[in-house]
């Protein structure tokens, strides 16, 4: 029982938190800019490398280094939007998808040129799990950080979207860009705010993933499928749907390796990332609007 919790459920929740943060940006850009941004994973990866560089240069703790990295990546994202997405605002959205596809490879190869392809740890050493509840629950400190930081970021995003003018305007544009324009909401400003939020949450997700595992140039691409699956599962344009979707997929991936029948893992762990794909395909067949009645574009 505790083995199940410690080795399957908790890692699933930790992974789910990372997916959730990543999917948040996907669902916001999909909902507001109306295209599937394939470069999102690479933005996450780039931001993580920036955080890694801060750790190297200033000896910061990775969680602290994440903050300037988030800001830098957000700025960079605004530049990328201007250069590669803004020219296609009034074009069919599929052109933006192609542009994001190109940007995905540009960012990745740029990182590979600058930082090389060697995987690197962002948190030195190995953390021993600590015992909680009389030793029933084993939890490494870094996992506690990840869970708490995710909760804090979620709360901040919730406040942003429901309490601030720009947050409400983001929801309004996601709802109907045409009406937003007629209402006088400056859609370009809203788009910029969306990129800032998407980039910042992506970097947060990337740094947490790096703390949990390591920094490598394929980390963004590997996250892409689970993040899209989480966004679709929760319903496009539904931030909290994306969070729920991320948690479901993270937990499902870890639980798929539990020996439910007999002693062997139910599913070969090598196929873990197939879970996200399977869930996504099932949603597209059964209910493309997602669990929380998002938009079917």
């Amino acid at each position: 029982m505790w083995e199940f919790v410690n080795f399957y459920l908790i890692p699933g929740l930790v992974l789910g938190c990372i997916y959730a943060l990543g999917a948040l940006g996907i669902t916001l850009t999909f909902g507001i800019l109306r295209f599937a941004n394939f470069a999102h994973g690479e933005v996450m990866m780039l931001g993580t490398y920036l955080a890694l560089t801060m750790v190297w240069l200033f000896g910061l703790h990775p969680l602290l280094a994440a903050l300037p990295a988030m800001a830098l990546t957000a700025l960079l994202m605004l530049g990328l939007d201007r250069a590669f997405f803004r020219p296609f605002r009034s074009a069919p959205t599929i052109i933006s998808v192609i542009a994001s596809f190109g940007l995905m490879l540009m960012i990745r190869s740029a990182v590979q040129v600058i930082w090389g392809t060697q995987p690197r740890p962002i948190l030195p050493g190995v953390q021993r799990p600590q015992a909680w509840l009389d030793g029933a629950i084993l939890l490494a400190p870094k996992h506690v950080w990840i869970l708490l930081a995710t909760l804090a970021i979620m709360a901040a995003i919730h406040l942003l979207l429901t309490r601030t003018r720009i947050g409400k305007a983001m929801r309004a544009v996601a709802d109907s860009p045409e009406l937003a324009r007629l209402t006088g909401i400056p859609v370009e400003t809203v788009i910029r705010a969306t990129w800032v939020v998407a980039a910042a949450t992506a970097v947060a997700a990337g740094v947490m993933l790096a703390i949990d595992t390591q920094v490598e140039t394929m980390m963004g691409f590997k996250m892409l499928l689970p993040m899209f699956a989480a966004a679709i599962l929760g319903g496009i344009g539904r931030p909290f749907g994306a969070v729920a979707g991320g948690l479901v997929i993270g937990v499902a991936e870890e639980l798929s390796a539990y020996p439910w029948l007999g002693t062997a893992p139910l599913l070969n762990p090598a196929y873990k990332s197939g879970i996200a794909f399977a869930i996504m395909v099932a949603m597209l067949v059964w209910r493309p609007s997602g669990l929380f009645r998002g938009r079917v574009l």
Partner: protein, 336 residues
């Protein structure tokens, strides 16, 4: 004399691999140029073609499935059918939704296929891949084997090109582009939009498998990392968009042109020293970095073409459709 021989071999290899890319690009043109469908998983269909053909034609090997001893042609046909079946399944689910979903799903299917190829060691030899793949005409003496194989690839390109041109001008092709340009109008005219799109998607994916089948034969080795998205999916997209989407000649031209540039820059990166010093800072692993820089540059080419020359080198042209002349390809400004 030796030098000329070397140039000749290089030219043959350019034309052979360029021809394979032309097959892939024509397949993508069928999907994107004709039907406006986004396929981000070209590498997956490509790999299916290579693996299935290799397994069916190779003599029995202890490391992986094999020993079926099928002749080349039926093996390739089976490979194309397998790719078509995968495309049909994914298309059935996603084609009724907006193109973004198909894009996500195809990138997903390519990843899943890669996982399978990597992990089902009993069938695919896992990460080590399949080697000594039989190649058509390899029993001929050098250089006739290479020439004959090149001719096979180029004839295939020609046949596909002629077939697609015929399809393009047929009522089928007209319906296809009418759907691409105005789905609602085509639906109102009573066309089964989903079915037409599915046909284009399935046929295009089968062509991609054909390209993969040839590629596996040509290199005589195929592994799960032979088809990483950078070098296949992405290059094919750039080839089509730069050459001119919805124009079969543009697709072929783009494939040969981009492949020549791509392979030329590969030679250049091979000449680079292992380490250079820039402003007093030593930069190690120069050739590796330069290889990634190439991918970066090809990405940049895509962006520039998309923004400045969205019609490509040879833009779409077609006779009157729906009563008026349309000379636009799938480009910014079109309602999609």
């Amino acid at each position: 004399m030796d030098q000329f021989y070397g140039y000749g071999i290089y030219a043959i290899s350019l034309l052979t691999v360029g021809g394979m890319y032309a097959i892939l690009t024509l397949g993508l043109n069928l999907q994107w140029g004709f039907a406006g469908l986004f396929n981000a998983g070209i590498a997956g269909f490509f790999a299916v073609g290579a693996y299935v053909t290799a397994i069916l034609t190779k003599p029995e090997a202890p490391e992986h499935l094999g020993g079926y001893g099928l002749p080349m042609a039926p093996a390739i046909a089976v490979a194309m059918l397998v790719a078509a079946a995968i495309a049909w399944a994914i298309g059935r689910i996603c084609i009724r939704l907006r193109s973004d979903y198909l894009a996500i799903a195809t990138i997903g299917i390519a990843e899943i296929l890669r996982l399978i190829l990597k992990n089902e060691t009993w069938a695919t030899n896992g990460p080590r891949g399949i080697s000594s793949i039989p190649r058509a005409f390899e029993y001929l003496p050098d250089p006739w084997d290479k020439l004959a194989f090149m001719a096979l690839v180029l004839v295939t390109v020609l046949v596909i090109y002629l077939a697609l041109e015929k399809a393009w001008r047929s009522p089928w092709g007209r319906v296809m582009t009418a759907i691409r340009d105005s789905e609602d109008a085509a639906r109102a005219a009573g066309k089964d939009v989903e079915s037409f799109r599915l046909q284009a998607f399935v046929l295009g994916s089968a062509l991609m498998a054909l390209g993969g089948a040839y590629y596996g034969q040509y290199t005589k080795y195929f592994g799960p990392d032979s088809s990483d998205p950078a070098s296949v999916t992405f290059l094919v997209w750039v080839m089509l968009i730069a050459g001119g989407s919805a124009n079969n000649r543009g697709a072929v031209l783009g494939a040969f042109l981009l492949w020549t540039i791509w392979s030329g820059t590969q030679i250049v990166t091979g000449w680079l020293p292992r380490e250079i010093s820039l402003f007093g800072v030593a930069i190690p692993d120069v050739p590796v970095r330069a290889a990634y820089l190439r991918i970066f540059l090809i990405g940049l080419v895509l962006q520039v073409v998309l923004q400045r020359y969205s019609k490509g080198i040879l833009p779409e042209t077609r006779p009157a459709v729906l009563g008026r002349r349309i000379t636009r390809g799938p480009e910014p400004g079109r309602q999609g």
